[in-house]
């Protein structure tokens, strides 16, 4: 390796970028997975256009995948790039601004044809005109080298051969960061086992890239990121959607119920349907409905039938489901509604992420129709959030909205696989007997939880009717003034009482902290990083991250009132902020960005300092 030096880093951020058809998602995901397997902590961020395959070479057709690998527990994919792999001019144009000065830029020079330069809107070639000054640039004719490497593979035409160039790029980067090539090679063998020629081509391209790094002597240094110290256990990388799907299956298993997932496809929730549709041998029933209303209706019908009814969607679909969710409030049946929030309003930015559905989750139904709302905060947490959602919905016979978002749905991180006995108990019992003087009263409640009995149709003697009209305890339609008032208040009280049954808000506070950060959902990662960095800078910080958004943890009032300043960072215009202010009358401030992507930790750092005011900011220097 001659003069190549080895540099130790605690973390590195790499982004792979190219055309939608260049396979960057696969490459980035692969690099992340390998790094996970090799013991790093990782956080990833896929970012792709709303178009399926936007015209080649255009800036809006660029698809990118970002990975942060670290020797500590990272919580974000990183604010800025240490390494950019750009397969064409458009990718360079879009993503170069994010590379740190002095960072590494690896370009596929074959992609820099005049046509592609024009497409990207470059008037001169950035590889030659000084654009890349100040970066460490590696120019590699990846397409040529891939074709060369693949040429002896039989049954692969030139076009197909070219397609392997992402594996060449992966090979180069794998070498640069000392990623053991065998893991990826084995994976390629598995993944493409049904088309041996493609497998062969990809293997050859990958190896060629790896060896290119080793032999081309263009790199002055290679980098090493040590394994992170994670909680011992068995791990896998997991996206939020995968974790959510597994969480639902696990919850149904714990509750001994059939999982019934009804959905209408929508980005970024469709993968939940895809994941679950494959699990037929688990008895999972999936139903692709004609629209979101039908999906909610079928899930609710399934719950009525005694299954675990779940329906997943994103914002526009949530709007449509609300009337049916309101019916579920009235029927008092379990129903888990998953909302993977995306950029709104309306169709907005469908492949981007934000946190703008909290208020509609809380209040977006006519009438007084309260329900519990919880939010997942990271890809792996989706697993646990799903279990908690199911637990509450089943126990309290209530629809519940579980919020995730486009970012954590598609991003991935290592997930410590729990053993089955780490999973919560979820006990369900169905009514089998009359409950009042030989009669069955469907709205006679459990005095503790206020939940009504759940009956399996088919149970003799308990035949009864439920419906959206107001009822009395006996289940009869009632237009009585006082009954309605009481029922409205009882349904609200039932939801309020869930507060007794959830963990208190966890406060992570330095003694003497002046500023409390209150966050929820996917901002968790950026807030964690920002808080850590501020602490490193000597600022005392307090932080609480909420999973339960309705009801709020019972100690939250006390927590928010214990700090002179409270800030609520959100990727919306201040939705939790409104709730906190109304609930506790504290003058909390919002930090709000609605850019369709998570906060940069550094932006939060600055924003928190600003809230703290000069004094604190100075203290930090």
């Amino acid at each position: 390796m001659g003069t190549v030096t080895v540099q130790e880093l605690d973390s590195v951020v790499i982004r792979f970028a190219g055309d939608s058809g260049d396979g960057m998602q696969l490459t980035g995901e692969r690099f992340g997975n390998v790094s996970g397997i090799l013991g790093n902590d990782i956080a990833t961020f896929p970012d792709f256009p709303a178009e399926i395959r936007a015209p080649a070479g255009t800036t809006y057709g660029v698809s990118a995948y970002q990975v942060q690998i670290a020797d500590y527990d990272v919580t974000t994919p990183g604010d800025t790039l240490d390494v950019l792999v750009a397969m064409n001019p458009a990718a360079l144009k879009v993503h170069l601004p994010d590379v740190v000065r002095g960072g590494i830029v690896i370009v596929n020079t074959d992609g820099f044809t005049q046509h592609n330069l024009d497409r990207a809107g470059y008037t001169s070639n950035p590889l030659e005109d000084g654009t890349l000054q100040g970066y460490r640039v590696y120019r590699i004719p990846m397409t040529t080298l891939t074709l060369e490497a693949v040429k002896e593979v039989e049954g692969i035409g030139k076009k197909e051969a070219e397609r392997s160039k992402n594996f060449f790029a992966l090979g180069v980067v794998s070498w640069l960061f000392g990623r053991n090539p065998e893991v990826t090679e084995e994976w390629i063998r598995q993944k493409f086992r049904s088309s041996p020629a493609v497998m062969e081509a990809n293997l050859k391209a990958f190896r060629a890239g790896y060896h290119y790094g080793e032999t081309a002597e263009i790199f002055e240094a290679v980098y090493r990121v040590k394994p992170a110290r994670l909680e011992p256990g068995l791990y896998r990388n997991i996206t939020g959607n995968q974790a959510m799907a597994l969480g639902l299956v696990a919850a149904a298993h714990q509750a001994r119920l059939t999982l019934y997932y009804a959905s209408y496809p929508i980005t970024p929730a469709s993968d939940l349907l895809h994941e679950l549709a494959r699990l037929k041998n688990f008895g999972v029933k999936t139903f692709q409905a004609e629209d979101e209303i039908a999906a909610a209706g079928a899930a609710l019908g399934a719950s009525y039938g005694g299954a675990l009814g779940v329906t997943g969607t994103s914002g526009p679909g949530l709007d449509l489901k609300q009337e049916t969710i309101g019916l579920a409030v009235m029927l008092e049946l379990p129903l888990v509604v998953i909302d993977n929030q995306r950029g709104g309003p309306s169709t907005g930015l469908p492949t981007k992420s934000e946190q703008t559905d909290l208020l509609t989750a809380l209040f977006g139904r006519h009438g007084e129709a309260p329900l519990p709302v919880i939010a997942a905060y990271s890809p792996a947490h989706c697993f646990w959030a799903a279990l908690e959602a199911v637990r509450i919905a089943l126990k309290y016979r209530t629809p519940l909205i579980l919020l995730s978002d486009g970012y954590i749905a598609n991003a991935s991180e290592p997930f410590r696989i729990p053993s089955l006995d780490e999973l919560p108990e979820i006990a369900v019992s169905f009514a089998s007997e009359p409950n009042r003087d030989g009669e069955f009263w469907p709205y006679l409640r459990d005095p503790e939880t206020l939940a009504r009995p759940w009956v399996l149709p088919g149970t003799p003697g308990l035949e009864h009717r439920v419906g959206g009209l107001e009822k009395d305890e006996r289940g009869r339609v009632s237009y009585d003034f006082a009954n309605h008032d009481r029922m409205v208040k009882t349904r609200a009280e039932k939801v309020r009482r869930i507060a007794r049954d959830i963990p208190p808000a966890r406060l992570d506070a330095d003694g003497g902290a002046e500023l409390l950060v209150v966050s929820w959902g996917s901002t968790w990662g950026s807030v964690a990083a920002a808080v850590r960095r501020l602490r490193e800078r000597g600022v005392r910080m307090a932080w609480t991250h909420l999973v339960h958004l309705n009801p709020l943890p019972p100690n939250l009032g006390e927590v928010v009132k214990s700090f002179p300043k409270v800030v609520v960072p959100e990727n919306n215009l201040g939705q939790l902020l409104k709730v906190i202010r109304a609930e506790y009358l504290v003058d909390a401030k919002g930090v709000n960005s609605v850019e369709g992507r998570p906060f940069r930790a550094s932006d939060l750092e600055e924003a928190f300092l600003e809230v703290l005011g000069e004094r604190a900011a100075e203290g930090a220097r």
């Binding site: 008895g283 139903f287 039908a294 019908g301 039938g305 049916t324 149709p457 009717r465 419906g467 959206g468």
Partner: protein
């Protein structure tokens, strides 16, 4: 898949299906005889009472489940088929019925209606077609005739009506029938057939709303001399009608035409075949009713056996379990590339 009639036959009577709640329809409403007909068919089926579920939307007709002493869900407007689909696919051991109105099924619920038809879920849908919105006090519905004066069409309806039978056939229905609220026997027969059908069974009942659309079907009632317009479809029989059976139906140039039997000869009449794979003839029969009054085909238009949605769903599950064994959660969690951290 559990079957709906495997439980030991039980002796039930009509009364067993009447709930404790007194129906709240207007006196004389056509919904009463429909309720009575359903209550008299169910005991015949040998299905325990607790295995029936009645689901509905919103409308006068959608109050139906409250009056049935079975399991029941009074849903929201237009969405009964969605709830019923969830129940029927989650619980194939239940027999699921939907009670719905012309507004409920064809206006706000039109999409679920046509999708229920094509999916062939194991549910039975009774459409109470009174050609009006009853519960909201008399606006026109998608089956109201052109020109009709109603509260919301003071100058006459300008929307061309649906023909529910044609619509169902265009949506790939496997069982389609039509009956009338004033003929208890015919209604009972048709409902019985629907009860036994596997897959989505659609029954349109021409129903009189005494308050907002009184007499809409007088042209068919015996007391108004309407028997002459009733064309009874019976499988395997040539289609004849009229007081003395002097009229008949031929299928000519793809259309169903009314003819004098004497003129064309009985042997040339259309012999009804519910089971034709191709629904074109059934469709042609549905076109006999002109927009307003006229000769109208009643009975079962179409009854073909196709795999039901729930059968297919459950056979996929069974096949997967056969092939892969029942799901093992522990293995599932550990699937994919894993690594150990010590």
């Amino acid at each position: 898949m559990a079957d709906q009639v495997t439980k030991p036959a039980v002796q039930l009577s009509r009364k067993d299906f009447a709930s404790e709640v007194e129906p709240r329809w207007c006196p004389g409403c056509g919904d009463y005889p429909i309720l009575a007909a359903v209550q008299s068919v169910l005991p015949e089926l040998g299905i325990p009472r607790e295995n029936f579920v009645f689901v509905s939307g919103i409308g006068c007709s959608s109050r139906f489940p409250y009056y049935m002493n079975t399991y029941g869900v009074h849903g929201i407007h237009g969405r009964a088929p969605t709830l019923a689909t969830g129940i029927a696919t989650a619980r194939p051991d239940l027999q699921v019925w939907v009670a719905t109105g012309d507004g409920d099924a064809l206006s706000i619920g039109g999409n679920h209606f046509i999708h229920a038809m094509r999916r062939n879920v194991n549910i039975r849908i009774i459409l109470f077609n009174n050609r009006i919105y009853g519960l909201t006090k008399g606006q026109y519905s998608p089956t109201s005739e052109l020109g009709k004066i109603t509260k919301s069409s003071p100058f006459g309806v300008i929307d061309r009506p649906f023909n529910p039978v044609s619509l169902a056939l265009g949506a790939e229905a496997t069982f389609v029938a039509r009956t009338v609220d004033f003929d208890r026997q015919h209604m009972t027969e048709v409902l019985r057939r629907a009860a036994h059908h596997k897959g989505t069974a659609f029954v349109e009942v021409l129903q009189n709303c005494v308050v907002f659309n009184e007499g809409a079907y007088d042209f068919l009632t015996p007391r108004a001399g309407g028997l002459a317009y009733q064309i009874r479809l019976e499988h395997g029989k040539p289609v004849r009608f009229g007081p003395k059976g002097e009229k008949g139906i031929v299928i000519r140039g793809g259309r169903a035409e009314v003819v004098d039997v004497e003129e064309v000869g009985e042997e040339n009449l259309y012999v009804h075949d519910e089971t034709l794979e191709d629904p074109s003839v059934h469709f042609a029969l549905s076109r006999l009713t002109p927009d307003g009054a006229g000769p109208t085909a009643l009975g079962v238009f179409r009854a073909v056996r196709k795999p039901t949605y729930d059968e297919l769903m459950h056979s996929q599950i069974a096949a997967a379990q056969e092939k892969l064994g029942p799901g093992d959660l522990e293995r599932l969690l550990r699937s994919g590339e894993t690594w150990k951290v010590e």
